[in-house]
């Protein structure tokens, strides 16, 4: 009766199920995409802020950020190479075995037997080079464009951490193949960590506090580079450091947004924006022309977001994402080409009895290796420590509020840059020529106490002259920015020349040679 009639009208469970099943593709799409295709500005904005991975971007991006000569895409390129390294690294982990008996052979297998293994390994190796170079150049551009200034001081410090962790990843990865190159570079690196004994020995207090030995044992898990060291390096390289790097990259990107997006000059003319995408309707993107308040008004201090107008902005989707994808593809293409052209090196298996001669570190550590060849502690710990500390403190010691986001906004910056390049090149070249030709204190006074050599050696003399020069610039110009420009340029030139010199002109026994082809056969 009526009861059964009603029952007939109600769809049975099975029917509902079948209808849902029929609509499954559509409802799955609705749940995943959540909004229409990003054809309208509104939908495009929604795509950005409702997606975890995209929402780290602003919905709209200032046109100035697309100016190719501003950032040169170097930050994105660093991030892209890290993503590529992570992917290839995970693949390598499938075959790599972190033990003394197997490490070398497993790399050999990857290189010669595993299908595609050589390509993956080459991309990983080249990726490391490109990432270090990318991060370094990115730092140069941030400094040169004055983008570390208020309110970005903190992000500059985060950047320095990223720089250090990037180098740490390279250093720990270098050991894993367990070939001659790996073994001896790591032996030297670990001994550098242990080099504070040079100081504690000279003071005669090593038996009370042995900082060097402590650091070295922490790194190696032993007194020698062996199985324990390999396991520790594997763990650092594959787990700890990538996690730390990923976390800090997250903080870095978050800070970019919280600091009001990328730095840019206060006055931007139409000429400066040539070649960047345009949105004719930018002014209408938000109901109010100029946001004069934000949630930030509840917070103490000034907020950059409030000052930003939507003028000269474009939709991040697709403009910014296209830009990022273009850089990613470019980096990938470069890596693949390099990987076909040149193989990652693999020397003979590690032999603790016979060092590779010369035992050279990867290029970005060669400048350090040159300094270390004067004094282990000064070159390996004190001078690089001073450099990192000095760089890190730049935004706190130079608080000028000049224009950010421009390369060389005034003549003074350019002239200090030029004169510093000339001064520092002369200082370094003169010191190198002198040292190569005449040797150093020990050659003339064999009995000289070690402490004097630690304090007075080519490395400390170069550093001292750099400091003197920067203070002079600071005094003469009365500008902390120009002082910082001098410090940074000295660092840059020092890095470049020392790296080149050690790469090209140091041969067996760390002797000077004009070309590697002149090395004696051994």
């Amino acid at each position: 009766m009526s009861n059964t009639e009603e029952k007939n009208k109600m769809p049975s469970g099975i029917e509902t199920f079948l209808t849902n099943l029929k609509h499954l593709p559509q409802s799955f799409k609705d749940a995943t995409v959540r909004h229409g295709p990003p054809s309208s500005n509104r939908a495009a904005s929604q795509s950005v802020f409702s997606n975890l991975f995209l929402h780290i971007h602003s919905v709209r991006t200032h046109r100035y950020n697309f100016k190719k000569t501003f950032t040169m895409g170097l930050g994105i390129a660093s991030a892209a190479s890290f993503v590529i390294l992570a992917i290839t690294g995970i693949l390598l982990m499938i075959y790599y075995k972190p033990s003394l008996a197997e490490a070398y052979n497993s790399i050999k297998d990857i290189h010669f037997a595993v299908p595609g293994g050589r390509l993956i390994r080459n991309i990983h190796r080249w990726g490391a080079h490109i990432m270090v170079a990318g991060v370094f150049l990115h730092m140069v551009r941030v400094f040169m464009t004055g983008s570390y200034r208020h309110p970005r001081q903190f992000n500059w410090v985060v950047g320095m951490i990223l720089f250090a962790v990037t180098l740490g990843l390279s250093f720990t990865g270098y050991l894993l193949p367990w070939d001659q190159l790996a073994y001896w570079a790591t032996t030297i690196g670990a001994q550098i960590a242990g080099s504070p004994v040079e100081i504690t020995d000279a003071l005669g207090i090593t038996h009370i506090i042995d900082i060097g030995g402590l650091q070295m044992r922490l790194l190696l898990g032993a007194d020698i580079v062996g199985e324990e060291a390999l396991v520790r390096f594997y763990f650092l390289h594959c787990i700890l450091l990538p996690l730390v790097l990923t976390t800090f990259i997250g903080v870095h990107f978050w800070r970019i947004r919280k600091d009001g997006g990328m730095s840019r000059p206060s006055v931007i003319t139409e000429e400066m924006l040539e070649g960047t995408p345009i949105d004719e309707n930018a002014e209408m993107a938000f109901p109010t022309k100029n946001k004069t308040y934000g949630l930030m008004c509840l917070v103490k201090g000034d907020s950059n977001n409030v000052k930003n107008s939507v003028k000269n902005t474009v939709q991040s989707w697709p403009n910014l994402f296209n830009y990022e994808m273009a850089i990613f593809i470019l980096v990938l293409a470069i890596l693949i080409v390099l990987s076909y052209v040149s193989d990652a090196p693999l020397k003979e298996a590690a032999n603790p009895a016979v060092p590779e001669n010369p035992a050279k570190a990867p290029w970005y550590f060669l400048g350090l290796q040159e300094l270390v060849s004067y004094s282990a502690f000064m070159g390996g710990v004190a001078i690089p420590g001073l450099a990192v500390l000095g760089l890190m403190l730049i935004p706190f010691l130079d608080k000028t509020r000049n224009e950010s986001g421009l390369w060389f906004p005034d003549k003074n910056e350019k002239s200090v840059f030029k004169s510093t390049v000339i001064f520092s090149s002369i200082v370094i070249l003169a010191t190198l020529v002198f040292t190569v030709n005449f040797g150093w204190l020990r050659n003339w006074f064999p009995q000289i106490p070690q402490l004097i050599i630690v304090l007075i050696n080519p490395g400390t003399i170069i550093t001292g002259l750099f400091v003197w020069w920067s203070i002079r610039i600071l005094k003469n110009t009365g500008s902390t920015r120009l002082g910082a420009m001098a410090v940074f340029t000295c660092f840059l030139v020092g890095f470049v020349i020392l790296t080149y010199f050690a790469y090209q002109h140091r041969g067996p026994n760390w002797d000077f040679y004009w070309w590697p082809s002149l090395w004696p056969a051994h």
Partner: protein
């Protein structure tokens, strides 16, 4: 609000986080301790050499794996480490002295520094006579540079 209550609240609001961070620091410290190796892997650090008569005057014997060179001269036997005191590379015996391939340190035939960044002379190891009359090189014990042992009577 009376002042006593206020200061008590102040105390609690400061104390609670301090407890948290304090315990975290202690815990973190103990975790750090975990990473410090106490059991250092050790190979046997003694090399059996043979009878004193096996090493006539003028002998030079290189132990590549153990990183030591044994010499015999008029004054007796002595053993010099080939681990560079700079950054741990292996120095090479040239017949007149030791050269380090890594950063160019050079040492004379007694292991004293002639040139380069090495902070100290090469180590000398102790040579011991076992009850059997055999000689043994003890890599755990160093002696002053220049200490040569006479074993033949």
């Amino acid at each position: 609000m009376d002042e006593k209550k206020d200061s008590r609240r102040n105390f609690i609001t400061k104390f609670a986080p301090a407890t948290f961070w304090g315990s975290l620091a202690v815990w973190g410290g103990s975790l750090l301790k975990f990473t410090m190796p106490t059991l250092l892997p050790q190979e046997s650090k003694k090399i059996k050499l043979g009878m004193p008569s096996d090493f006539p005057n003028g002998t030079t014997k290189i132990f590549e794996k153990e990183r030591v060179v044994l010499f015999a001269d008029d004054d007796g036997l002595f053993a010099i480490s080939t681990t560079c005191t700079h950054l741990g590379c292996v120095v090479k015996w040239t017949g007149r002295g030791f050269d380090c391939p890594c950063h160019g340190s050079k040492f004379d035939a007694q292991g004293e520094i002639i040139q380069g960044p090495a902070p100290k002379a090469l180590k000398w190891f102790k040579i011991e006579k076992l009850p059997s009359g055999q000689l043994s090189l003890n890599l755990d014990k160093t002696v002053e540079s220049g200490v040569k042992e006479q074993f033949y009577v």
